[in-house]
Amino acid sequence: MSAEAGPATTARPGVPPAGEPMVPAAYRVARRTAETHDCVSLRLEPAGPAGPRFRPGQFTMLSRPGVGEVAISVSGDPAAGDGSLTQTIRDVGAVSRALCRSRPGDLIGVRGPFGTSWGLETTAGRDLVIVAGGVGLAPLRPAVLGALADRGAYRRVIVVVGARSPAEFLFREQLDAWTATPGLEVELTIDRPDSAWTGPVGFVTEPLARLDLEPARTTALLCGPEPMLRFAADVLLGQGMAAADIRVSLERNMQCGIGLCGHCQLGPLLLCRDGPIVDYARARPLLAIREL
C-alpha cells in the first residue's frame, strides 16, 4: 500500500521542501536602490543555501507575506555567483508597491528562477542588437552584462534604450558607463521633450531604423511594452532580419510561474514555461490577435 506522504514539515530554513514548488524560499533584502521615481532595485540574499543560478531573461516569483506574489525579472549580473538576486520592481500595484517599499532586512519569498532565457549561448559570432523600452531594460541588463563578460564571442554589440524622459532611465549611471565603453554601441533616446536633455529625442524605433545591419548575422533581443515590441520588430523585419532571429520578452498575468495555474496563456503558449522569451516568428501571429 502506498503510504501517503507525511505532513509536510519545516525543512531547512530558506529552502522549500522537495515537491512543494509553491512554497517560497526565504530571502532578505540586503540593499535597496531607488532607480527612478517608481522603480526600485532590490538585492536579495538567501536566508539558507543559494538557489539555482539564473539565466539572463528569467524571472522569479517574489512575495511579500500577507500582500501577494508577483513575477519580476532578474536584473542583476548572471556571473555574480554569490547566490544573491538583484531584481528591479516598478510600483504599479499593491504587491509591487510593497516590494518597492521593503527595507534591508525584510523577508521576501522567492520562487524560481523560471522561464526561458535570452539564449546568448546561441548567438556566438553574431551581431547583437539589444532594444529596451522603459522598464524593459531590467531583464535585458543581464544580457548586456553577459555579453560584456565574454565580449570576444560577439561581433557588434548594440544597445538601444528608450525612456519617457531622462529621469526615467533605469541604471542611468551604468548606461552612461556603457556609452563610454569601447566595443559597445549605445543609443539613448527619450519620448518627451525635456529642456535638460541634449541627447536624441524620438521613439526607440528611430535609432533602430538608422542602424546599418547585416541582417543574416544579427540577433535582436527586445523588451518593453508590447506595442513597442511590435513596432521595433517591424523596423528590424523591414531591414531584412528573419523573425526567428528576433527574440521578445512577453508578459501576462502570472500566479504560479510553473505552468499549473493557467493565467499566463498566450494562445498555445504558457509564458512561464514557453516564455517569457519567445522568438518573434512564434510570437508575431499571436500578438496580432486582439485580446488573445
Partner: protein, 388 residues
C-alpha cells in the same frame, strides 16, 4: 507509486460477477482498508459525489435526464445505482481541491501547509471522468517539471472503480471525443451494471494488481460468456445513443484557425461569463492564489479554483487582456479543444457534457464547434468563388 490505479489491460483474468450485496461488500472492504470511498448519492435534487460509509447511500433507482441548461432526476423502474449520467460535480474536487492552503509565514520562514493525508477510492467513475482523471494527470501530475503538491500526494494512492456507461445522458458526447462509453485504461476495477432478467448484478473487470486483490476479498463468481458479452454489448450500444456529438473535423485545427471567426461575437450575445462551465468541467484546472494576514502578523497564502471567465483572470498593467466576453469564451473553448494539445499533448475535453447542462443559457459546445466549422467552410468557399 505502488502501481495502484494506473496499470490495466495486462490483467487477462476473465470477468467476474458481483451481486448487489457484493457491491456493498466491496464498499465495506475499501472502507476497512482505510480508503475514503467517494461515490454518487442523491441530494438536493441531483446526484452528488459524497463519502460513502455503506452501499445504502447509493442513489438506487434514480436516473437523470439532461439537456442544455437543465438536469433533472427521475425515478427509474429498477434499483440501478449507476443508472444516471454525471451530476454537476466531478472527481477533480478530490484530486485538485477547490481551496487549499499553500504556506504560512511567521516573519522568518515559509512553512508549507500541512495536508490531511487521505487515500481515496472513487466508486462509479464513468469513462468520461476516467479520461478526465488521466488528463489532470498530464496537467498536474507526474512527469512534469513541477507537480502540483496536492495532486501529487492524492493521485498515487487512488483506487478507481469505473462504471461502464449503458445509459448516456442528453448532453453526453464522449463517443465523438474518443473517451467512452467504455472506460479506458486507468481503473483498478470496472463494473458494468445490469438489471432485469438475471437479477441486479455487476460484471466486473480487473484492471490492476490492487483491483485483483480487492476483488478477491469480495464475494464473486466468474461471469458466463453470455453475461460478459451482454455487458460489453450494452456499453457498445450506448455509443450509438449519445445525446449529441462534435462535428467530424479536426477540432484542434478548427479552433486554431478560428480566432477571427464571427462565431465569437455570436456566442458572446448569450454567454454570461458566469464560469459555471469551468466549475463543472472535470478537466478545468486553473487556480488563483490569495493572501491573508491575521492581527498577530502571521501571513498565509492559499490557492482556489479560478476561471478564465473571471474578468481579472488576465489582469495586466491596470486592465485585463481579455476584457470582452467574446475573447473569454474564445479562450475557454480554444484552450479546451486546441491549445491543450500544444500545452499537454492531447485534448482537454472528455465529452461529459456537464458544461452544456450547467450553462444557465444552454450554450452547447458541440453546437458552437459545428458553427465554427460551418463558418470556416463558408469562408473557404467564398475565397474559392472569388479568388483575389
Amino acid at each position: 507509486m505502488t502501481g495502484d490505479a494506473g496499470t490495466s489491460g495486462t490483467r487477462a483474468a476473465a470477468p467476474a460477477v458481483l451481486t448487489r450485496a457484493g457491491l456493498d461488500e466491496l464498499i465495506a472492504v475499501l472502507v476497512a482498508e482505510g480508503y475514503r470511498v467517494i461515490g454518487p448519492t442523491k441530494s438536493d435534487g441531483e446526484i452528488v459525489l459524497a463519502e460513502l460509509s455503506s452501499g445504502a447511500q447509493l442513489p438506487a433507482g434514480w436516473g437523470a435526464d439532461s439537456g442544455p441548461g437543465w438536469y433533472r432526476l427521475r425515478r427509474r423502474d429498477d434499483e440501478a445505482v449507476f443508472g444516471h449520467s454525471a451530476g454537476s460535480q466531478s472527481w477533480k474536487q478530490f484530486l485538485h481541491p477547490p481551496r487549499r492552503p499553500l504556506w504560512s509565514a511567521d516573519g522568518a520562514t515559509f512553512v508549507p501547509a500541512r495536508e490531511e493525508p487521505a487515500r481515496y477510492a472513487f466508486l462509479g467513475v464513468r469513462a468520461c471522468d476516467l479520461a478526465a482523471i488521466a488528463t489532470l494527470d498530464t496537467v498536474l501530475g507526474g512527469g512534469r517539471a513541477h507537480q502540483d503538491g496536492s495532486f501529487a500526494r492524492r493521485r498515487p494512492g487512488l483506487f478507481v472503480v469505473a462504471a461502464g456507461c449503458t445509459e448516456p445522458g442528453g448532453v453526453c458526447f464522449c463517443a465523438s471525443m474518443g473517451t467512452g462509453p467504455r472506460p479506458g485504461p486507468g481503473y483498478d476495477l470496472a463494473l458494468t451494471e445490469r438489471t432485469g432478467a438475471g437479477g441486479h448484478r455487476f460484471v466486473a473487470e480487473v484492471g490492476s494488481a490492487a483491483g485483483e486483490r480487492v476483488l478477491a476479498a469480495v464475494t464473486h463468481r466468474g461471469a458466463s460468456p453470455d453475461e460478459a458479452a451482454d455487458a460489453s454489448a450494452a456499453v457498445d450500444a450506448a455509443a450509438a445513443r449519445m445525446g449529441r456529438q462534435m462535428p467530424a473535423v479536426d477540432l484542434r485545427d478548427l479552433l486554431a484557425s478560428s480566432r477571427e471567426s464571427p462565431a465569437w461575437e455570436d456566442v458572446a450575445q448569450r454567454c454570461l461569463t458566469c464560469g459555471n462551465c469551468t466549475m463543472v468541467c472535470p478537466t478545468c484546472f486553473c487556480t488563483t492564489a490569495e493572501d491573508s494576514t491575521d492581527l498577530a502578523g502571521r501571513a498565509e497564502r492559499s490557492q482556489r479554483w479560478a476561471s478564465c471567465f473571471e474578468l481579472d483572470f488576465s489582469y495586466l498593467h491596470g486592465g485585463s487582456v481579455r476584457a470582452s466576453g467574446a475573447s473569454r469564451y474564445r479562450q475557454w473553448m480554444t484552450h479546451k479543444l486546441s491549445s491543450w494539445y500544444d500545452q499537454f499533448g492531447g485534448s482537454g475535453c472528455v465529452g461529459c457534457g456537464r458544461c452544456i447542462a450547467w450553462c444557465p443559457v444552454g450554450i452547447d459546445i458541440t453546437a458552437e464547434a459545428s458553427l465554427l466549422a460551418q463558418l470556416r467552410d463558408a469562408a473557404e468557399q467564398a475565397g474559392e468563388d472569388d479568388p483575389q
